[in-house]
Amino acid sequence: MIKHLVFAVLALGLWSGAALAEGPVTIGYLGLQDDPRYHPDIVYTRIEIAPGGNPVDGATMGIDDLKVVSDAVGQTVSLDHQEAADATSLTAKVQAMVTAGEHFIILDLPADLVEQVATATKDLPVTLINATAPEDRLRSLCLPNLLHTAASDRMNADAMVQYLRTRNWTKVLMLVGPLERDKAMADAFRASADRQRLNVVDTRTFTLATDPANRESNNSQLITGNADYDVVYVADNQGEFSRYLPYDTQLPRLVIGSTGLAASEWQWSWDRDGSTQVTVRFEELTKGRRMTGQDWATWIAAKSIVTAYAKARSDDYAKIAEYIRSSRLRMDGSKGVQLNFRPWDGQMRMPIVLATHNAVIAEAPLDGFLHETNTLDTLGTDEPEQQCL
């Protein structure tokens, strides 16, 4: 079919008189050089078992998605993507960005670097949005300049525990890996399991080896033996142990956590709430990459910043920063409900998907988990529990 394209010009001047914030807007994006989190998983045969990809793609798409909004208020939004190798140089990057007039920076960094960079720059006129570090510790820093669009470990754990409680699978065997990340994830799960009165029958540490002297901790069948449980929860951020765990447990039970059923901000197979369009747009942008939870978190971070610039009706950083933190921000993350940031810890409240490798099995909060003000706050640290470090 021949298409006669008529290129329409989108009219400017939306809020005549009120649109003070016209002009260029640059959003910072700070990543870690050669971030190991995004290496393609490679087994020794050099076959990739998970394609790598940089979540900066999500931020790029977020800006592009809202271009028509920025255009309407006379703003031209661009992304300043920078990388550095350590805390000192990352902090210097933030300072340079702020000097250049960038007041919102998306951080795509591991937790320890988020903490160091955010602490070092807490007095600067800048809002940092942590998009990829799930550690709850960062939410307890109570830094006024730090927001989070990555779901916290506790949010993911609460989602999973709500599901186990709903199914009445209450006896859990916990397997925990050697990494700090594994321990953080497991700690959040344990706290959540306690709140919902699940029975953690045992917690065992696995190791990656075939060393016969340590069979009890490196053999799937032995490490899952001598206990009675409904499910096995495994915290394994490296992924090499958990990959071989399903179908190899001593009892015929399901595996959840880092494999099997996993909790995340996003999964590509979710097909409600307009999520299909988001996944398809992302695949087109990235030539076929499937959107991950990290991509979703940088996407919603960029969208939140662009929205705040467009809707705060001011070019004063303080006003825009106030807007993004207020309940007036009602973001659409294609998860069926409006999203905004919790005032007590700067965490974006959001539904969590519980998914296998190719299907979303449940979306939390699950039916029946109620809250006095907002059911999304059944996921993660609630206001009365909040403690600042």
Binding site: K3, L14, V68, G336, Q338
Partner: protein, 326 residues
């Protein structure tokens, strides 16, 4: 079973031809099912007469003026299917851009204006030549489309940009962008054409736009049934009575339809329907309203006199829209 259905359809068609009282229409109910890839046809007694196989992901539906043809936007095959209402067969396909969702006719029915969800365009298709004569860029995920009675102005929502684009149909130019609530979905125009109502799914609001100035009129409206919270309300479908007195609004995840006084904006009744109430339509005599319930795979029929749900009827996978041939 299939033969029975065909027999019923034949009997029905015969009945239509002998009963002059039905001359205005068959009274049949048409429901598109997004995941069933079919338009389900029910008779006045709510018996399923036929499941018409369509292109994939049928969504919005409209009759032509004399109701001889039913047009169905099929999102996964990039076509609008055309169903012959007399024979209940798909007789034609009109190609569109990627992922057509909602569409409207120009008043003279010479053009179809369709929102193409995946390439962010409002496409204008000439009905005779089947050519795309205008392709108007919108914000991402355009959805609701409506054309003013004089045909001069089209309105389209962008779900991602939180905007209503005002389009001059003569030039295809966007003449104004009106920023509304989060994820704007569908429209109605009041019968006098003075007000455009827009449902904003994720901010739970209804915006009313004054079509004379294309400015937002007053505060946004929020309708929360008893026992629900504002964030549980995700309004989508809209319908209005011919006298412009009552508006029906489906509340999505709140599983209710609000019947609203169009002048005072007071809620006359919240009607409990199925899960994720979506599109809503009225019969021509306005005695019944029909609601597609996307997540309980059924439709609910509301009696407008008592403003109570009358019956819910199982339909198929993910009902999207309901229209009535009467």
């Amino acid at each position: 079973m299939k033969r029975l259905a065909i027999l019923a359809a034949v009997a029905f068609a015969t009945a239509i031809s002998v009963l002059p009282a039905w001359a205005a229409g068959t009274g049949m109910i048409f429901v598109s099912t997004e995941k069933g890839n079919e338009v389900v046809v029910l008779d006045q007694d709510h018996n399923i007469v036929k499941r018409i196989e369509t292109s994939r992901r049928p969504r919005d539906m409209h009759f032509n003026a004399d109701k001889s043809l039913l047009y169905v936007a099929c999102g996964d095959d990039d076509v609008i299917d055309v169903i012959d209402v007399a024979t209940l067969e798909v007789v034609d396909h009109i190609p569109t851009g990627p992922s057509p969702e909602v569409f409207a006719f120009s008043p003279d029915e010479k053009q179809i204006l369709v929102s193409n969800e995946e390439d962010s365009r409002l496409e204008v298709i000439d009905m005779e030549s089947r050519l795309s004569v205008q392709d108007i860029p919108t914000g991402a995920e355009p959805e609701g489309v409506i054309v003013s009675k004089d045909g001069k102005t089209a309105y389209v929502t962008s779900e991602v940009a939180d905007m209503v684009h005002v389009v001059d149909t003569a030039t295809g130019a966007v003449t104004k962008n009106i920023l509304v609530g989060t994820r704007p979905r569908r429209f109605i125009l009041t019968p006098d054409g003075s007000e455009l109502w827009v449902s904003c799914e994720l901010s739970s609001e209804i915006y009313i736009i004054d079509t004379a100035t294309n400015e937002i009129k007053g505060d946004s409206l929020i309708f929360v049934p008893p026992g629900f919270r504002e964030e549980d309300v995700t309004p989508v479908g809209l319908a209005i009575t011919k006298d412009g007195s009552k508006v029906l609004l489906s509340l999505g995840r709140a599983n209710h339809v609000a019947i609203i006084d169009a002048k005072s904006h007071d809620v006359l009744q919240y009607v409990l329907v199925g899960k994720r109430a979506w599109s809503v339509d009225l019969s021509s005599d306005e005695t019944k309203a029909y609601v597609a319930n996307g997540l309980s795979d059924d439709i609910t029929i509301i009696d407008m006199a008592s403003m109570k749900p009358e019956i819910s009827i199982p339909i198929g996978r993910v009902p999207h829209s309901v229209v009535i041939d009467d």
